[in-house]
Symmetry: C2
Subunit: 345 residues, 2 copies
DNA sequence: CGTTAATTTGACTTCGAATGCGAGAAAGGG
DNA sequence: CCCTTTCTCGCATTCGAAGTCAAATTAACG
């Protein structure tokens, strides 16, 4: 008896209505129920009406897990993204999620604390049988090999590999940095500081290298680099490091992202009492929300997040449909935003 | 027959490696393979070694979908959150994701553009057979009924219903607002402006009402309210609206979130040339990252996101294990942050 | 060494929906 | 009115792992 009540309780908790229940209630077969929920299946109106009524009455929802198992499609895509990116650039995740769900695909979220603990994560991704994966993190060549071997379609977001045929959506970091450098040098800045992102960030490397290269090309000799970690605090700290290293405040500071640029501006203004842009120019990268706030009005390169996420989502979905499509890289130019945080003439 | 293995590998590109493949390759039964991947199962070390070797060689990963089907556990939890929340307060999602994955549960993300399109979304959530759901959005009584009827454990994040027994984790919005009002009134402020959030936001309503109530209690008569939408721009616009409505700048502005408070400060300083806090005090709510930036140094109530997400996750997981637990509400006090954006004495 | 107890193992069934195939029903043609 | 064609529908099987239970193996002990 106690068994019975326990059973009942269990049953009440797991009150899952299956297609068999609906079938019984409607007096038809399970197959019929299944067909009624499949668009474009061969079902008479009478049948459909009956089944739908029964489904309604029982509160039936098809079990996506069971469907996935037999159909081989989970209608889930993994998004692998670092915590820092999500914190400092939440637009990416928001847009990805929005666009995916418009296409009937849900986002299974994988955030990583450090770009290094990807290995276990990939196993997880594969276990969950996602249809595809959007990766906004750095993967090693072996890791990419492993994914390709499983035949899981994937698209990199803002990471590319020059020497590899992979799917990627990128903002042209180098082009953006070169533009920033050009404008700053043209405006007469000569002593440069650079605040980079963390060493293990591919995006930061590209940006920093892009800026350094262009500075070299233009014959700028006085350049110091401080390493940051994309945070506001590290931007502020970076400016102090640069000052210590150069023996004075540089003319301009190029930051690997907007948040550090903001930290740098605040440190200049409120810690060092230096006027931005009169005495110091600061530029960033990304074009995040706060960059537009009037306290900063940042000169930066805005990534076309809308276009980029749209591209990433359509690329991944195309490859879910047709896994044999050729790899493709789509590089978007950033939007040059001439804000008031840098003297540009 | 060595060719066979090559064939298998080729085949593995499109077809997955199943426990049967591993079993065959190791010369054991499928049950044995399954047991080897279940911690604490009765398996000899010899067997385990053999199976693991075979699994390794074939690159086998257990299929979480199939496992879910039989075990009734998907190890996924839905997080339902509005786009605005994600954009302006990304910490919540980051922390939730982190804590869940530490517990071996993945986040299936459901972002909503407007709090209104929840209905289809709930169907989706149910279809995906998530084990539980964390809801940072407003649900109607009927919607809650529907979920309860399915027996899906859920926890509200920052929404509570006084007249309903549900699981919820909240920051005490009212307490926080009352503290802010107390401090401001004590410091001699008499003319108040309030910039609320959107009408359909429960959190905003609580905050605004909390502030209004305390102001009334303290006999403050001059109070104007402008409606915002949580955005920076609406904070800036709100200040102008308040000025128009009151015929002058108020002594203090209470904003329903930090981002609007920041917009308000910037509008005061850069549009109206008003000094904050000398001529105008501004306070917010949330304690987001930018509130700490030295340009703003916001007086605000910081939500204990770490504690709150931890509570939400442990509550949901407890209820997945034991669905019959009593509903529970956990209300956390916010941390009062006395920043430089308000004159407090 | 025999007998019992403890541990391992494999055959079979289960979860819930989708689908190929054939039977039966409706529709169409002569 | 009969025969063919086209629809519909149901039966039975499938997806991949996990759990049940009984058989088989091993360990333990007198």
């Amino acid at each position: 008896m106690t068994d019975n009540s326990a059973n009942n309780r269990n049953h009440a908790n797991r009150q899952r209505v299956t297609s068999y229940d609906v079938a019984r209630h409607a007096g038809v077969s399970q197959s019929a129920v299944s067909r009624c929920f499949k668009p474009g299946a061969s079902v008479s109106k009478k049948m459909r009406a009956r089944v739908m009524k029964a489904a309604e009455e029982l509160g039936y929802q098809p079990n996506a897990i069971a469907r996935s198992l037999i159909s081989g499609r989970s209608n889930m895509a993994a998004v692998v993204i670092s915590q820092k990116t999500t914190l400092y650039y939440p637009e990416i995740l928001v847009e990805l999620s929005q666009r995916m769900s418009e296409q009937g695909v849900r986002v299974l979220l994988f955030t990583l604390e450090h770009e290094s603990d990807i290995d276990d994560l990939l196993d997880q991704v594969l276990q969950y049988q996602v249809d595809g994966m959007i990766v906004a993190a750095r993967l090693s060549a072996q890791q990419i090999d492993a994914i390709e071997r499983r035949g899981l379609p994937f698209v990199f977001y803002n990471r590319s590999f020059r020497d590899r045929q992979i799917n990627a959506v990128c903002c042209d970091q180098t082009e953006g940095e070169r533009w920033l450098v050009n404008r700053l040098v043209n405006a007469g800045h000569r002593r440069f500081g650079i605040i980079s992102g963390p060493e293990d960030s591919a995006v930061s490397m590209e940006r920093t290298q892009g800026a350094l290269e262009r500075l070299r090309e233009l014959g700028v000799k006085q350049v110091a680099v401080a390493e940051g970690d994309y945070s506001y605090e590290s931007g502020a700290a970076g400016l102090l490091t640069l000052r210590a290293e150069m023996g004075r405040i540089p003319d301009a500071v190029i930051c690997a992202n907007d948040v550090m640029a903001i930290g740098c501006i605040d440190a200049a203004r409120h810690q060092l009492g230096i006027s931005v842009p009169a005495e110091l120019s600061v530029v960033g990268f990304d074009g995040v929300g706060p960059a537009r706030w009037s306290s900063y009005d940042l000169t930066t390169v805005r990534q076309p997040v809308g276009r980029m996420t749209e591209a990433a989502v359509s690329m991944i979905l195309e490859r879910v449909e047709n896994p044999d499509l050729q790899p493709e890289k789509r590089i978007f130019s950033g939007l040059m935003v001439e804000g008031g945080s840098a003297r540009l003439d």
